[in-house]
């Protein structure tokens, strides 16, 4: 007969939280003292029923709203909303028009001054030996980086959603795993000439390191500090945009010419 189970083991068993449930069950079937102890525990816990909360009517939500509506603080606007102000939108619009005009003018000017075969402007240059292999490697890299960004986004999102002091040991475990991978991808991206990818990965690494090096039972102030830095670097946004851009490049595949680098608006 194996040793008897403690009250803690039996509590976990009752709540179906403990490991080796089959083992405990087997023991209970054979051990009289443990069976009696478990029966007593069960009888007590079953007698503890949830207190019935006083009824709240259908209008309760509205009542709560009426009580709090004048106490709501000023909403902290997210960083990007600053760009949605009408004057800034107008400025951005004007800038975009100028940019498009400059691009069209540039295309027209170069087409007029440097005649080139039409095919040269849309088709890639004749492939050098090994170019197909390079493209294949690049596609694999971009797919891996996109997956890596998805995983990183989940960690960052969890950190952004914590409230008050929290145990972030789970997020730290994930972040630690991601750091090493991130370094490798950053190096590969730099070697492949994907500078904007490398830059975002570098920023991501810094945040992941900060998360890993924070005490697991992080204070509210410490978490606030991390969140502020993530916010200030617009990191979550960059990770999302880069992820979706890489996925877009994968789906476009061979049909569209591959840009040499990612758009700079996120770097």
């Amino acid at each position: 007969m194996s040793k008897h189970y403690s009250e803690e083991d039996l509590v976990l068993y009752y709540y179906e939280d403990g490991p080796r449930r089959a083992e405990v069950q087997q023991h209970l079937d054979a051990c009289e003292p443990c069976t009696v102890a478990y029966r007593e525990l069960t009888a007590t816990l079953k007698s503890v029923t949830a207190p019935e909360a006083p009824e709240r009517g259908d209008q309760y939500g509205l009542e709560v709203w009426q009580r709090i509506r004048h106490r709501l603080p000023e909403q902290e606007m997210p960083w990007w909303s600053v760009w949605l102000r009408a004057d800034r939108l107008a400025l951005a619009g004007a800038f975009s028009v100028l940019l498009v005009a400059a691009f069209v003018a540039g295309r027209w000017w170069s087409a007029g001054t440097v005649p080139a075969p039409a095919v040269a402007s849309v088709a890639p240059a004749p492939a050098a030996p090994g170019a197909a292999g390079d493209d294949g490697r690049r596609r694999i890299l971009l797919t891996s980086v996109a997956d890596h960004l998805d995983r990183s986004e989940r960690v960052l999102t969890d950190i952004m959603n914590t409230t008050g002091a929290s145990d972030i040991s789970t997020e730290q475990g994930w972040a630690e795993d991601l750091i090493n991978t991130s370094r490798l991808y950053r190096q590969d991206a730099a070697d492949a000439g994907e500078q904007s990818v490398a830059l975002v990965l570098e920023e991501l690494e810094r945040s992941l390191l900060e998360i890993v090096h924070t005490p697991s039972r992080a204070t509210a102030a410490r978490l606030d500090e991390i969140r502020r830095r993530i916010d200030a670097a617009s990191l979550l946004f960059k990770v999302r945009v880069l992820g979706s851009e890489l996925r877009q490049r994968q789906t476009q595949g061979q049909d569209a010419p591959r840009p040499r680098a990612l758009s700079t608006h996120i770097s």
Partner: protein
């Protein structure tokens, strides 16, 4: 209101649209009250917790990420607000008399066996008194595990505790409740 509507309401509320936040308050208030009541064991305290929770949620809305569930996020806020409130009113809880035990004092419905009802009311009073002796974290952890059916991992995440600390909060709560109910076992 489905998940898309909730997400849209959150997005609008973040922009300062109070009507959008109102729709979230109206949708989640009753559930928030139920949880707050179970943890605090007091109607007025539960009311305070609900209001404070929504104010906290509104203040922190910019940190909420759309991938998470608003109800889960709010659940965490309500649990932590309840713990904070119990801590701040600890003195009152410690001196609460059994005359002020809330649910146990509810009028009993007719038709049931009077002896059984009396025994049940006695258990409720004992449980309520024992619950008021628990520390705020023990009380919250036990409520989330026993009444709400949350896993140890979820409770730890909600209350900002490690797995071991969460388990021990539940163990201590169970031990105290058993000790409080022990005399009744002899009577039955």
């Amino acid at each position: 209101m489905d998940a898309t509507d909730v997400a849209a309401a959150i997005a609008r509320a973040r922009q300062g649209d109070s009507e959008a936040f109102q729709s979230l308050v109206e949708r989640h208030s009753r559930r928030a009250f139920q949880l707050a009541y179970r943890i605090t064991g007091n109607e007025q305290d539960a009311e305070d917790v609900v209001q404070e929770s929504f104010i906290r949620a509104y203040r922190q809305l910019s940190r909420f990420e759309a991938r998470a569930h608003f109800s889960t996020w709010l659940h965490r806020i309500v649990a932590n607000c309840s713990v904070d409130l119990i801590r701040s009113r600890r003195v009152r809880y410690e001196h609460a008399s059994t005359d002020d035990l809330g649910p146990a004092e509810q009028p009993e419905s007719g038709g049931a066996d009077p002896e059984r009802l009396a025994a049940s009311a006695q258990i409720e009073r004992k449980v309520s008194a024992a619950m008021s002796e628990l520390s705020p974290l023990e009380r919250a952890a036990f409520t989330l595990r026993h009444y709400e059916g949350r896993s140890i991992a979820e409770i730890g995440k909600t209350l900002g505790l490690g797995t071991s600390a969460t388990k021990h909060s539940v163990f201590r709560a169970v031990r105290k409740l058993r000790a409080a109910l022990e005399p009744l076992r002899g009577e039955s």
